[in-house]
Symmetry: C2
Subunit: 227 residues, 2 copies
DNA sequence: TTGACGAGTGTACGCCGTACACCTACGATC
DNA sequence: GATCGTAGGTGTACGGCGTACACTCGTCAA
């Protein structure tokens, strides 16, 4: 059956939402690098240019994908303890990003905040404010969290993926790293980044920051940099 | 003078170093997106394929560029106060990355740590260890710092570049963000990210983390996650 | 009946990275 | 000095990319 015939019989018309969903699914299954307009069109059984009736260009497609992912993050739980609310939501965001590993790079590469990100940040700021942090402190706190707000910790390199054979000279050249790797090898990981419990590392830093924020709040911290 | 004639007269032969330096310069001046093998070859007055005698492919070129940039970071200062040593070096790294804004994305996109990054991390780990942090704590501390070790804070979106006209409905839709923007508008910035003192934000988070680490060290903190 | 319009099509252009075969100048070897 | 291996630069070509632009065609309002 050619595309023409399919048109005549039954054909769900394309729309922006179907395009975005297909794009997310394709990125999930084949990786973001394999996501091209042509490949996506093929997936939707449509000619590449058809996509451009629904998204202005590839950048806007990526914007939409980022928003779709951010939209998956749980709404904030209710509760009197702002640290718990923030913590829970950020860990939810982290789960979302673990489901869509490509999304980290896509979100980072947006030049401006997309609507869903903006809404998320606004909501998160509200949680801090409701928790008793001043607007001033909230502002700096959100900066300090950076991308951690969205659940990714920005490691220096990708620890997943196949790591080559361990470099025998590495320990000699980098004794400190070797030592750290040794302490981290609690379950057999042997490479630099391997054998780490990413979830533990993420929560370690998160809690350190949240506790630091709470301390500043209690002290009535205020930035002293006004002109 | 054609390329041929230039060859006959005087022609500095290409080598890996010249290629990398030219690539860094080109990225500095025209941005990383405009850096293509073809464009780089043109800059060196050479045919594109000539580059492949000196770098295996574009990825390896980017690896080399990342290493070149990381190599610009100051060596650690001497001193008894580990917090000051770490702080100073990270702020040096930050200056380097401000000189080469494209480097953040390039470093992030490497799939594994390049030699210079590895050396830098090893040296940094040594500073923590010399400061009295246990190998265990040092490990988690380095994870907690993440890319901040290299001087970038991973903001959620790029606050440089031209921001469009301020959205009049934004304040209504996102009251909390609007409030934060208002408190931050100490020198006339009007957009969400604008008007922030990036250096202040960076040091705020950095010091918060360093102080947190020092507290853990004093308490003799140890991870309780062993099996 | 017509005619505007929205959705999908087809073709084409100029980029990109790079495989592969080639040439050419040079330094070592006999 | 003739020979030859080799390193470095060249030229051509391929497949893929994003997307501009002109088109067709089915639907529906007037």
């Amino acid at each position: 059956m050619t595309r023409q015939e399919a048109t005549r019989t039954q054909r769900i018309p394309l729309n922006r939402d179907r395009v975005l969903r297909a794009a997310v699914a394709l990125a999930d299954s084949t990786g973001i690098d394999a996501l091209s307009m042509r490949r996506l069109a093929q997936e939707l059984d449509v000619v590449p240019m058809a996509l451009y009736k629904h998204v202005a260009n590839k950048e806007e497609l990526l914007d939409g994908m980022a928003d779709a992912v951010v939209g998956e993050i749980d709404p904030p739980a209710a509760g009197p303890d702002w640290q718990r609310v923030v913590r829970g939501r950020i860990l939810s965001a982290r789960q979302v990003l673990l489901r869509h590993p490509w999304a980290v790079r896509v979100i980072e590469s947006r030049t401006g905040p997309t609507p869903a990100v903006l809404a998320y940040l606004d909501s998160m700021a509200g949680t801090f404010r409701d928790g008793g942090l001043s607007a001033d402190l909230t502002h700096h706190v959100m900066h300090a969290m950076g991308s951690r707000l969205l659940g990714f910790s920005q490691e220096l390199f990708d620890t997943s993926g196949p790591s080559g054979p361990p470099d025998p000279g590495l320990a000699a050249r980098h004794p400190n790293i070797a030592e750290l790797a040794a302490t981290a090898a609690h379950d057999g990981g042997s490479t630099v980044g391997g054998g780490c419990d990413d979830q533990f590392e993420f929560e370690f830093a998160l809690d350190l920051l949240l506790d630091g924020f709470e301390n500043l709040r209690r002290q009535g911290w205020t930035s002293a940099r006004k002109a």
